[in-house]
């Protein structure tokens, strides 16, 4: 008989109360660095305030971005509202050498990678498809085609294996790869194939699924009739469910999975149970498909309020700190606003740039025709200029 657990790992409850159980003991131990009733309460408080700050700033960013969209400065924005703990918790468990493949809502993870959050905006302003250099923070650009990047993450991890960067025991070198995706994504064949490839290769990859209860208007129950974490068992890898609104538990579960990956223990699937408190994107209207009761009930499990309550319970937060954080948030908001408003459309030549890494005749000809047309001097034969390229001779036949 094989035993599996559906139990949700939770370390701090919705009202900020510590959660202590036999089942979560190993995670409590792992997460001691953030636990206010742990061995080093002061240092823990300092660290936990860091996570609290992360979440508060990320939320400010989110609110700011949403209102920029309302003002017509962005074409679209997918808010992460409500998912801050899952993202900041898992993101803070990463090491700088780890590599992340986000979906399109991982602004909180971007923050933990050290990205300037304004850099997330070009794609939503319609001025770039990507928007940042993935190599700068080992944070890949957003992937919009649901689930397809799970395979990229797996392949990348297979590359890491070949590079000998797994299980060396050198904490500064061993590396893990993380793919973030949603509950809806678990239905895609690509995600299942990724689980399969990762398992048989024992690849150092963590599949971090934020089950935010909805795939646009479709509830998770229409994607799976059992908890999503079980999916992993069927492919032969651990599947762990964590309270994704508990930043400490999210950190602990991610930390364990990442350590397993880096040390050669193979892939893990994490289901972070959370809630998309806002709309799917700024184009969406959730009142069409879910009740305000549901929204309110999840509102009471707000991941940020929870940490605040926990900190306050242990006298580790005060008004002065709150005011300072607020000021920092205002500054971030201001920075994002200014930067976004200054983002110009690229020149039209961008239409033709980077289509290929090496020169390509079709692109060159069309670009020439386009430029001539723009200049009011259309050419009828843009390929003519290319006529000097030598034809290959036939070789031996």
């Amino acid at each position: 008989m094989i035993e599996h657990s559906d139990e949700l790992v939770q370390l701090v409850g919705p009202d900020g109360e510590p959660v202590v159980s036999e089942a979560n003991a190993p995670y409590r131990e792992r997460a001691a660095r953030y636990l206010l009733d742990g061995p080093e309460p002061d240092a823990a408080a300092e660290r936990l305030r860091g996570l609290y700050r992360d979440m508060a700033l990320v939320r400010r960013f989110d609110v700011e971005a949403t209102s920029l969209q309302r003002q017509g400065e962005l074409a679209l924005f997918p808010p992460l509202l409500g998912q801050e703990a899952a993202q900041v918790g898992s993101g803070r468990a990463l090491r700088s050498q780890d590599y992340v493949f986000p979906s399109y809502r991982e602004h909180g993870v971007a923050w933990t990678r050290g990205m300037d959050l304004a850099d997330v905006m070009p794609i939503f302003r319609g001025v770039e498809h990507g928007g940042w250099d993935p190599a700068a923070h080992n944070f890949h650009i957003y992937t919009l085609v649901i689930g397809s990047h799970a395979l990229h993450a797996t392949g990348y991890a297979m590359g890491v294996q070949r590079d000998g960067l797994v299980g060396t025991g050198d904490a500064a070198r061993d590396m893990a790869v993380v793919a973030y995706f949603g509950d809806g994504a678990t239905s895609q064949g690509d995600v299942s194939e990724a689980l399969g490839f990762a398992a048989v290769n024992n690849a150092p990859v963590v599949f971090f699924c934020q089950n935010n209860q909805w795939a646009i208007s479709v509830p998770t129950a229409k994607q799976s009739r059992v908890p999503l974490a079980r999916r992993a068992w069927g492919f032969g890898m651990p599947g762990v469910r964590v309270d994704g609104n508990d930043v400490v538990a999210s950190w602990a579960v991610a930390d364990e999975a990442l350590e397993r990956a880096r040390s050669g223990g193979g892939p893990t699937f994490v289901e972070a149970v959370t809630y998309r408190m806002g709309a799917h994107t700024t184009s969406d209207d959730p009142t069409r498909y879910r009740t305000s009761d549901e929204e309110e009930s999840w509102g009471r499990r707000d991941p940020i309020a929870r940490v605040r309550a926990y900190l306050e319970k242990y006298d580790a937060w005060d008004d002065a700190r709150e005011a300072a954080l607020l000021a920092e948030a205002d500054e971030l908001g201001e920075h994002v606003r200014t930067t976004v408003r200054a983002m110009d459309a690229p020149p039209a030549s961008r239409l033709f740039e980077h289509v290929y890494a090496t020169p390509q005749a079709q692109v060159a000809a069309e670009r020439a025709a386009f430029e001539a047309y723009e200049a009011g001097e259309p050419v009828s034969s843009p390929f003519e200029g290319l006529l000097d390229s030598p034809a290959t001779t036939g070789g031996n036949r």
Binding site: V127, H129, S217, A345, L351
Partner: protein
Amino acid sequence: MTATAVRPAGPAPSDLPHGVAGMPFAKAINAGLRAALASDDKVLLMGEDIGALGGVFRVTEGLQAEFGEDRVVDTPLAESGIVGTAIGLAMRGYRPVVEIQFDGFIFPAYDQITTQLAKIHFRTAGRIELPVVIRVPFGGGIGAIEHHSESPEALFAHTAGLRVVSPSSPQDAYTMIQEAVASPDPVLFLEPKGRYWEKGDVDLDAPVGVGAAARTLDHAAVVRPGTDVTVVAYGPTVHTALAAAKTAADEDGTSIEVVDLRSVSPVDVPTVVASVKKTGRCVVVHEAPTFHGVGAEIAARVTEECFYALEAPVLRVGGYHAPYPVAKLEHDYLPSVDRVLDAVDRVLAH
């Protein structure tokens, strides 16, 4: 299964009079789907978010409430799964109408469409018909992020066994979706999403071809007669072609005949050829990249059939050999009235 009756349009939606002035394109499809659902209880709609939400463009709005969750089905998020199960349902006698949320998300279903849906009729020597419609909001111009503005028709029109059509007006949208549902062959139904909010008069009693008569689905339409140049367009660019024709007529009296192809597989060659034989000049306009695009087939075929009538080579106006650009550049990418007129000038200059 090749009945040739032309039946009246399905029962018109009860809350609409039978002739509707100024009906938006998306609502016309909605009305057509509702008529199809009402007239045949084997018709099902399937897709992501088409139920309570009514689809991200609200094309299926109200239909789940009216016909129930078993007939208007919110599926799991998996395009191959959607098309693959639709095939199975069609084998069992159902007529699934599948919605792909956006053009750029059809490709996970490509194998099921190309290798299964298109070919099972041939493979079974006609023993199995698969009357599956795949609705895809396609094309650009709505300021969207990547994958939400592509025009993949050429990637499907090459495959035998599929019909690939695109309506350009609310009336055609209303009629053609019903004909597509009635077709015993699978139909890729491309909806020009940039036109969803445009209005037109719709006769809800317009006849709908069923069975072999659904071949009206194959027919091109001369939507503006002219004598100097034929402009061939379909879906979103018909509007552009008509605007160009009007401008040309107003500005220098050039008389452009606009042919709305309506179907890119098959192509109504006789209608296009008849027009080009008259005008002697032809420009094809589509949003998709021209390289290996639908315009190439039109140009090649027209040249073959009208070689001695042609005064100039057939020119193509369309997207570039590049991925769909960022929203802020899409107006440089999409065929504009000016670019159509530039091509018209060039064929006239020959």
